[in-house]
Subunit: 873 residues, 2 copies
């Protein structure tokens, strides 16, 4: 992107549609087709740069980088210094009078190209990179530690040995023709689009493969031409906190990849940033100025221009910018700018700041929110009291905020494995690389020994909303023995560790956490969202505690209160079992009578928290088999309690076993075979409401019949409910308004919604079961084929996470339309887990539902998604 007045090296772009074509027709045909256009474009760059690609005396070097719409780990990023060979490097030396720069560029080029394009990088990351081995060898022979201590002759030796290594491993000579190098790099970008890690990332982020990647070819500028040259990355605002403070890092005499690779710890760009860094790192002001000066101090003129341009870019794009720049021999070049990745809290703060600063309007502020990222803000932070007692082991950079506590693992595979077994893990590494992506995704947090705020670990962690502490230099990681030693404390794999991504602190052992605080910008954003949203957001909550938590998150009612959990505690489960194992309605009624007072208390607690708001209570739903004891001890206990034989109990339990319990005797099939259960639950719900009415608490109970598939099975239940209600009202001499409605979770209910709505006062789409039955998938059993389906792209996403709009969604749309055709006031909502997934929430808005209901922690996400849906309309 070339903005007027921003110094950008000239270049050109091969557009994304070429990428798809590339996969269709293949490498050779593609190169043939593009040949002429690319040559013309290169000629244009040559004209502007007054040099020539492949020329010896006045060479133009170029970079090739991927231009994906979203940057993604695992993709090839950049190859620098294309156009060099044994002749050109001499010409470049003559032209610049700087042999060190020329040979440094050359050896960087051969290594980078060899690794990425020629596939020299070992697939198994624990194997050694042949280039790194050669470097270590040369440094050892020379007796130096850092790359930039190497001299011209060393660099020449590196190039020689690098090329020999390429020849040995690939059997081919390193390409010397500039255009061969260019095509190799371009194709490598396309190839990397289909690399496994990129595919994994796209899956996580929901990015379609069809987008493809573009390829940017750009004239090189050099940050490695000596101490008047530098390269850096900067952000127009703080990507971790959102603070409106220009910041970034740079390295003198370096090329771009040195900054992000995290090998040399870079210096700060602004003075204030530098001072903050020094404070955290425990560096004195004098030392800081002497050894780690900021760019503002070290290169004040360049800094002034950089600051001026970053402001201009942010004003232009109306969003926080993530920029790359290079200083070549005292001249500033901008290489790239894009909207910066940010943490969830930075996202909120930046959007609200930009709104207050008049740079964007309300609707834009809402649209700027990636609703899923709000999740980060809602999760626990360290409990302050617990923190006081915790032992600080060391301090690193606060790379991605939040609190994490878990067991130490060192490798991504282990992270995945431990996580799968239910462990919470913290990944501890020297530094991370794209190979670690899958491990990072499941870890509670990431702790690295090396790398700055813009290191791989930091950038990816922020993108994922994971807590991360980077560059904690005190860490002594021993991969082989799977231990880490921190200032004399030796921890091994499996030991607990805690990290604070907001402060950079690292603690020994487990540190307790507590709920996040939801005020300031977050509260303002929520108010704004509610102003635009049409869809109401309720919560799924079965306890007063969850209900209260959801109220705090802004839920305006309960869309799904499951009652089955209420049956499991203490005496209740015994009475429930008696009910199930009873032989006749009379005995069932006796057992249910014991449960009634408990259940009424449960409802009272929930209705009280939700005073003034609707509360939808679902009648008993799961197969009875789930409640009975399956072990001999439990069965013996029941036999004694009921005064029958163990054999009798065993036989009754056996009889409840089903081939396909998902499709068995459950939902309203229970209420229709044992109306006593429905009667008891009706009495408990409305009895609780009447009690509260006496206390002056306003309640709006809604009784929900589960698993309706046939009008008459709903009608039967409705009759039982209304009759029991009238009996109760007569006994109490008081009454209360309530609704009777149904879940729509069986395909047939959606197909015949115009019949069911003649009796039902509301519909609540149970999208979990509806997805199971519409696809014919048992959630418990999909593990055997779902991963393969996702891998083969038969399914783009897991339909239990993201609502399947084409299939399940069409049933929702149909049912809503049919239902309202006979009852225009029909209240419709969804209460599956999709209720808190933004794209699904937007779909619910589109089909005209009245509300979504989701778990308490997803309520704010749903509120923003609802607002976005209304704005996008």
């Amino acid at each position: 992107m070339n903005l007027i007045g921003v110094p950008v090296p000239p270049g050109f772009t091969i557009t994304t549609d070429v990428c798809n074509e590339y996969y269709r027709i293949g490498k050779e045909k593609m190169v043939e087709l593009l040949q002429d256009d690319v040559k013309k474009a290169v000629a244009h760059v040559e004209m502007l740069m007054n040099s020539k690609f492949g020329d010896v005396e006045n060479p133009l070097l170029v970079s090739v980088r991927s231009g994906a719409r979203a940057s993604m780990p695992g993709m090839m990023d950049t190859i620098l210094n294309l156009g060099l060979n044994d002749d050109v490097v001499e010409g470049l030396t003559r032209k610049t009078g700087n042999p060190r720069f020329a040979w440094d560029s050359y050896r960087r080029f051969v290594q980078m190209y060899g690794d990425v394009v020629l596939g020299m990088k070992p697939e198994n990351k624990e194997d050694i990179d042949p280039f790194e081995e050669i470097i270590e060898d040369v440094k050892k022979a020379k007796g130096v530690k850092l790359d930039n201590e190497l001299e011209v002759e060393d660099l020449k030796e590196l190039v020689k040995r690098f090329k020999a290594a390429v020849k040995k491993q690939t059997g081919k000579d390193f390409p010397t023709c500039a255009y061969d190098q260019l095509w190799g790099a371009i194709c490598a970008v396309f190839d990397s689009w289909m690399n496994e890690r990129a595919i994994l990332y796209r899956k996580m982020e929901g990015i379609p493969a069809e987008w493809g990647t573009a390829v940017n070819v750009q004239a090189m500028v050099f940050g490695n031409m000596g101490d008047t040259s530098a390269t850096g990355v900067c952000f127009s605002r703080d990507a971790a906190t959102g603070e409106d403070l220009f910041n970034g890092e740079y390295l003198i005499n370096a090329q771009g990849e040195d900054v992000v690779a995290g090998i040399r710890t870079p210096q700060q760009i602004t003075k204030i940033g530098s001072q903050r860094w020094a404070e955290l790192a425990g560096v004195s002001e004098a030392d800081r100025v002497a050894k780690y000066p900021s760019m503002e101090e070290a290169m004040p003129e360049i800094y002034k221009e950089l600051d001026e341009i970053q402001t201009r870019l942010e004003n232009h794009y109306h969003d926080m910018q993530d920029m790359e720049f290079t200083v070549q021999d005292g001249k500033l070049w901008f290489l790239q700018t894009r909207n910066g990745k940010r943490t969830g809290s930075a996202m909120v703060k930046i959007a609200m700041d930009l709104l207050r600063q008049g740079m964007i309007d309300e609707k834009t502020a809402i649209k700027r929110i990636d609703a899923n990222k709000l999740d980060e803000l809602l999760h626990p932070i360290f409990d302050k009291e617990a923190l006081k007692k915790a032992k600080v082991l060391t301090r690193g950079l606060p790379a991605s905020p939040g609190a994490a506590t878990g067991q130490i693992v060192f490798f991504a595979d282990d992270a995945a494995e431990w996580h799968a077994k239910g462990h919470h893990v913290v990944m501890v590494r020297l530094e991370t690389s794209p190979e670690d992506l899958a491990g990072m995704a499941v870890a509670e947090g990431i702790l690295t020994a090396r790398g700055g705020m813009t290191s791989h670990a930091a950038v990816v962690a922020r993108g994922m909303g994971k807590c991360c502490v980077s560059g904690a230099g005190a860490l002594n990681v021993d991969y082989k023995n799977r231990t880490v030693e921190i200032d004399g404390v030796k921890l091994k794999e499996g030991d607990y560790i805690s990290i604070n991504g907001s402060t950079g602190e690292v603690y020994e052992g487990e540190v307790h956490t507590k709920a996040a605080e939801l005020s300031g910008d977050f509260a303002d954003l929520m108010t704004l969202a509610d102003k635009y949203a049409r869809l109401k957001v309720r919560t799924n909550a079965d306890t007063p505690h969850d209900a209260q938590s959801a109220r705090n998150f802004g839920a305006v009612g309960i869309g799904l209160c499951r009652t089955e959990h209420m049956f499991f505690e203490g005496e209740k489960i015994k009475a429930m079992r008696e009910m199930i194992l009873a032989e006749n309605a009379e005995d069932r009624k006796k057992a249910l009578a014991k449960i009634l007072p408990y259940q009424q208390d449960d409802f009272k607690g929930i209705l009280r928290v939700m005073a003034g708001y609707p509360v939808t209570v679902r009648l008993l739903d799961p197969p009875l088999h789930e409640f009975v004891p399956h072990d001999e001890k439990g069965q013996q206990e029941m036999a004694e309690a009921m005064g029958v034989s163990l054999a009798y109990i065993r036989q009754r339990v056996e009889a409840l076993h089903e081939q396909n319990p998902m499709l068995g005797h459950r939902g309203c099939r229970l209420g229709n075979t044992y109306p006593e259960i429905t009667q008891m639950q009706t009495r408990a719900i409305l009895g609780a409401a009447l009690d509260l009415k006496k206390e002056g608490v306003e309640t709006h109970p809604e009784i929900m019949v589960p698993l309706t598939g046939i009008l008459y099975e709903f009608k039967e239940q409705e009759t039982v409910i209304r009759a029991e209600a009238e009996a109760l009202f007569a006994e109490r001499g008081d009454r209360i308004d309530f609704l009777v409605g149904t879940m729509i979770e069986v395909p047939r209910a959606a197909l015949t919604a115009d019949r069911i709505a003649t009796s039902a006062e509301f519909f609540s789409f149970g999208t979990n079961d509806l997805t199971q039955m519409t696809f014919g998938y048992s959630r418990d059993d999909i593990a055997s084929f779902l991963p393969i389906y996702l891998h083969k792209k038969i399914l783009k996403v897991d339909p239990f996470q993201v609502l399947d709009q084409k299939g399940v969604g069409s049933l929702i749309r149909m049912a809503t339309e049919k239902g309202r055709s006979v009852r225009p006031t029909l209240k419709c909502g969804i209460c599956g887990e999709h209720g808190g997934e933004p794209s699904s929430v937007k779909f619910c808005h589109k089909v005209g539902l009245d509300y979504v209901s989701c778990s308490p922690f997803r309520v704010p996400i749903a509120r923003v998604a609802a607002a976005q849906a209304a704005i996008e309309e």
Copy 2:
């Protein structure tokens, strides 16, 4: 129904809509509302009969009978002689000069009214009817055996004691007011509509409860006024064979219920009928003429009028008539005529005869067929060779044709219980009553000691298409000891017996049966059906034997050839298990290679039988768990065969276990995870077709992917199939045309049919699974609630037997429309068990499917239903 020239006693009808109203507003309000109208209607009858209802000197007596659109067992049928009390009986005596007639009518009335309206009849049929007890008592005291040996004084005593019994049991006096009696009877008709047996019958016959029953009130005429009076039932054609022969039975000096109750064995109406009866019963012609003369011989004038009127009635209704008549003192009255029930073969013969006689046209002949009843004609008859060796125990009346062999049971409850356990039973009873209905429904056949061709057992058995032998007087049934003695042979419950409903013969033990012959009228009917049907009828067949059987029944292709059964025999199951338990694709391929030749042979056999017709083969469908050994022996065998440990096998088997296998890893989810299976099956199907092509046999294979829910899962399989096909064609140097299509059995497939049809060449609706998923019912688990759902009328029919048109049907309609919107030539059919159920077949015609596919025995039924659908259009 009053036809000009047919002598019908005057009366009036209370219409069916009143019945529904009755259930809404209740007895008292109903009587209040109807009071005036009924009085006016009665006054009209009084005028025509020149007598007065409730009057002492010139009394009008009336009958009340139910007027349901279909007559049904369990319903109250008739109450005769209303209007009698202690005064009126004296007046009637004076008016007729016939005290015996007056008191006989009175005692009949009190008993009938007491039993039916006042609820005196014991609920438990083994308890003794209090009236019967009194009769026995009086007969004993008198020393007589038959009712008509009782004299006037005895009849008076009966009435007196009957009324005392009523008072004792109900606490109320027997009603004396004529109108009280009338209202009691009318309400009893309405009440009986909801009687359990009536509900059961309606369920079996698919009659909606909303139809309700009408009530007919009619002036009484009397068949019990002496030897010039009689009552009878007759048919314009033979209801058992369809023969065009007027026939029927009558009793002199009797009222209507005496004929059907089967207590007195009635005499034949026609001379030829009488002669045939005598031959079967072993009565000499002399004896016959003396003791059992036909009406034609005994009352020639009346007979002539009866014959003339029955001809007129059949010509009027263009169908076989079932008529009731009474002769009162030499004058003939018709009480009722309706289209007669008949056996399946009579149904076919009568329709084809009427067509040939020009009384109906082709379309009407087809419409006359109750397609379900054809079933009776298709089932086995006794093997003639086996019959030669069988011992004839006795001979009864050939009441309902067919052959039945099974174990003896004596009670309906036992019949149901034994049947549920998988036994074939023959119900043996003195006589049957409506209480026996449920037992008769599950029995193979019914054998009774008493009753004629129009007895309860005979009529109901013919309605059900069950084999029945009635009136086998040699039977000595001992209910208490559960034995039956026949001419010295004593059989007990559980012993085998065989009966031939076409000849009346009863055999000891089991007699083997063989397939029915399908020629003559049946073949003509089928030709006629095919002339009108648009829908093709294919069959579901997995073996050459079934395929041949279906070809004989006229199937024009296979709609569903399941391949899973092919894997179970002999060595195949071992190879299959090796395939499943293999760890990688290579080992799976090795195991599959062993199965290939067997499978190819299987397909060759089937394709050869279906030469020239399409054969749809479904790829492997069931969860793999079904194939692996679950017992230790089998697992040990596999461990040895595969050279692995038992523990390994056990673990692999365990891993295949699923929570809900119906919704698990099956269908094309198998093919998509193990493409090797699809490849092998493709090779087997097309390899077989290529082999046959060489032999000059024309084949049309259609490869069907099961359980598709997503376009891409079909596409993946299609790609595998076509690639394998091309590889095979290249190897063989020959090719064959074939289609690739899919089952539509997952709701999502129907909802997204316009996507799937872009790739699929045909759709086959798998309505079994589609019903399971649309309702959310597991067929294996519905037993816990389906009976209750049917009982409570939540479901009117079992949706696995009769296609649910509102829900499942709407998906079929939608999928067909959507599919053809993108592929107008899309071939659509159904292959669930509904494909042979007439109402479902008609639905398939309506939504424009190309074919239905059903089990071989249902093929003729589907062909007729298809023709009817086209005609009804």
